[in-house]
């Protein structure tokens, strides 16, 4: 990609600010990493000593592991639902200019545009007060899927916009019915967009705390809930730091994949919340 030759002054100032901001972004994260080795159970500053004790505890923590699996399960289920609904919505709105188009777009954006506390409270109230249901893993999944739809929708819509509309027509023209066309043409062409959208949706669900707090029963502990419960216990807080540090390190993989797959960095990330 040809780069713009920005004037030197602007270039330098932009670079300097970028470096400063990057430092500010990473200092707290490094601090988390450092504290995971801090002998002080309440991360006193400066650290009185260093130990790998917490990492070994974290490694053996069944609660953390269970919470991790719960989070993965919830995120996978929510992502699966979001993939289906987001793709359907994007396909429905494609090439269509019906009166409700804006309404539908707004509706898809709304769950992520409203604060999590609103979405969480609305679902909790809906499930418990109105429907009289017990909160469970499924209530978390439903709530998460709701705000994950937008990431899939955005990615698929961007892909559609880039592809243009003739491929499916070409397929139908060559004798393939709608389902064959979807299987052989639409889906393969959407694959990377779906993967990117799915990964974002997974990440979104995986780290969600607010909506989860409202829609989780007390037995269903996702990783953020586990962190929330344990961060405040002096004996467990350093373990939490280990888990958080490990999460940051491992997060490189999905982010890298998402970016790779989508091919277009901007598209991969829009809606990256």
């Amino acid at each position: 990609m040809p780069l713009v030759r920005l004037p030197a002054g602007l270039r330098v100032s932009v670079t300097v600010v970028t470096l400063v901001v990057l430092v500010v972004i990473y200092v707290p994260l490094l601090l988390v990493l450092l504290n995971s080795f801090n002998t002080d159970r309440t991360f006193g500053w400066p650290p009185p000593g260093y130990t790998t004790h917490w990492w070994s505890l974290a490694w053996h923590s069944e609660g953390a592991r269970d919470a991790l699996f719960t989070s993965v399960r919830v995120a996978l289920a929510a992502t699966a639902i979001a993939l289906v609904l987001g793709t359907l919505a994007a396909m429905g709105l494609r090439r269509t200019r019906f009166f409700g188009r804006n309404v539908v777009s707004l509706l898809i954006i709304l769950p992520i545009a409203l604060p999590g506390i609103v979405t969480g409270l609305a679902f909790q109230n809906g499930f418990r007060t109105i429907l009289g249901l017990q909160l469970s893993l499924w209530t978390i999944v439903i709530a998460h899927a709701t705000f994950c739809i937008v990431t899939v929708f955005n990615n698929v819509q961007a892909r559609f916009a880039r592809l243009g509309g003739n491929f499916e027509q070409a397929s139908m023209d060559l004798g393939a019915g709608p389902f064959t066309t979807f299987r052989l043409v639409t889906l393969p062409m959407l694959r990377s967009a779906l993967l990117a959208g799915g990964l974002l949706s997974f990440g979104l669900s995986f780290d969600e705390i607010v909506v989860t707090q409202f829609t989780a029963s007390s037995t269903d502990r996702t990783l953020p809930i586990w962190i929330f419960q344990n961060l405040f216990r002096p004996n467990a807080a350093p373990i939490v730091n280990c888990v958080a540090a490990a999460l940051v390190l491992f997060s490189v993989i999905p982010i890298y994949l998402a970016q790779r797959l989508s091919g277009d960095a901007a598209e991969a990330m829009t809606g990256a919340r």
Partner: protein, 360 residues
């Protein structure tokens, strides 16, 4: 040209309205078997809509479409024995050239060896042997165009629809492909329905041409008829350069009321003193050269007649130097033409009334 039995495509009373816009209005059309048929018109004239209606991408507002003996009006695209070459080719980016070409056979569950054989045959037809394993993004524009063609031809459809397939190619390639397309059509014997806005393209390739404007056919004729005897000022203007004589000018120069057209190459330009005299066969008119445009093979001069009209005169740059022509700018000249080269258009076309009679 007219074959025996029912036409390949028969359209009756076809209309397509989008809200207030009438893209196609009350169209009747027969396209014969094995014909190379072109639909020519400016953008928005409805020609592409007719193509999409025939392909089945959109349902008509009214009217019927028959393919051979079958009424296909309500059938889905995949239920019609027609294939389309898209303007942007719509080659599946995630498949190789071979997979693209095989696609139609694959969804029809043709056995693999058979499908491979036919695909290779089709690639040979479009002179793309050896490209089977390529990916679409590794192909040039012309090659993609051929893949699209092969992908459609391999299904041996009754009718092949081509939606401005040469539009994206550069001029030289376009000329080559025009000839090639025509050859391929002769070779496979399939009815081609070709949509274009390029009059030269249409004239080069077609057996018959339908000129579209405002959702209607203005004239349906062979290329020669279309050029030599345009039915309306619109057709005359769209196909070739039109030199119109109407109103007072017509009265003065032709001697009768009406609108007349004469092609630029039928006009002869003389120096003021060397002009022939008008007689029963020849008409003359003096004027001033306002502009001279050098076009390589020929030169166009724009002459403002004293009578009021402005006519374009074309002359081949054969043996003599073109300097003489260029020096005539702003000079007085006399134009002459054979009276029988003048085509009477009748009244100026009114969009609300049907265009002059289509061929029956």
């Amino acid at each position: 040209m007219v074959g025996a039995g029912s036409p390949a495509i028969s359209v009756r009373g076809l209309s397509k309205h989008y809200d207030q816009v009438r893209a196609v209005h009350g169209l009747d059309l027969d396209i014969e078997d094995g014909e190379f048929f072109s639909m020519l018109g400016p953008s928005g004239s409805g020609k592409t809509t007719v193509l999409r209606l025939i392909a089945g991408f959109e349902p008509p507002t009214a009217g019927t479409i028959r393919l051979g003996d079958e009424d296909v009006t309500d059938r889905a695209p995949y239920d019609r024995d027609v294939n389309t070459v898209f303007q942007d080719y719509a080659i599946f980016p995630h498949m190789s050239v071979l997979q693209n070409v095989e696609y139609g056979l694959r969804v029809k569950r043709v056995a693999k060896p058979e499908r491979r054989r036919r695909a290779e045959e089709a690639l040979a037809t479009v002179r793309l042997e050896g490209y089977a394993a390529r990916r679409p993004h590794q192909l040039s524009g012309g090659q993609r165009q051929r893949v699209a063609l092969a992908r459609a031809l391999v299904n041996r459809p009754k009718v092949l629809l081509l939606d401005e397939p040469l539009g994206a190619l550069d001029l030289k390639l376009r000329r080559e492909m025009q000839v090639e397309l025509k050859e391929i059509q002769r070779e496979v014997g399939i009815t081609f329905v070709f949509v274009t806005h390029d009059q030269e393209e249409a004239l080069t390739m077609s057996d018959r041409i339908a000129v579209f404007n405002d959702g209607r056919i203005q004239q349906l004729a062979t290329p020669v008829e279309l050029y030599e005897q345009p039915a309306s000022a619109f057709v005359a203007g769209f196909v070739g350069t039109s030199n119109l004589l109407d109103g007072q000018v017509a009265k003065e120069l032709v001697g009768e009321d009406g609108t007349f057209v004469i092609r630029p190459e039928k006009l002869v330009m003389h120096a003021e003193d060397g002009a022939p005299a008008a007689d029963g066969n020849t008409a003359v008119a003096p004027g001033v050269v306002r502009e001279v445009v050098y076009l390589g093979a020929s030169t166009h001069s724009v002459v403002e007649l004293d009578a009021g009209a402005t006519l374009t005169v074309a002359h081949q740059n054969t043996d003599r130097s073109i300097d003489a022509a260029l020096e005539r700018r702003q000079q007085r000249v006399v134009l002459s033409w054979r009276r029988d080269h003048l085509v009477a258009l009748g009244r100026a076309p009114d969009p609300e009334t049907p265009s002059p009679e289509e061929e029956s």
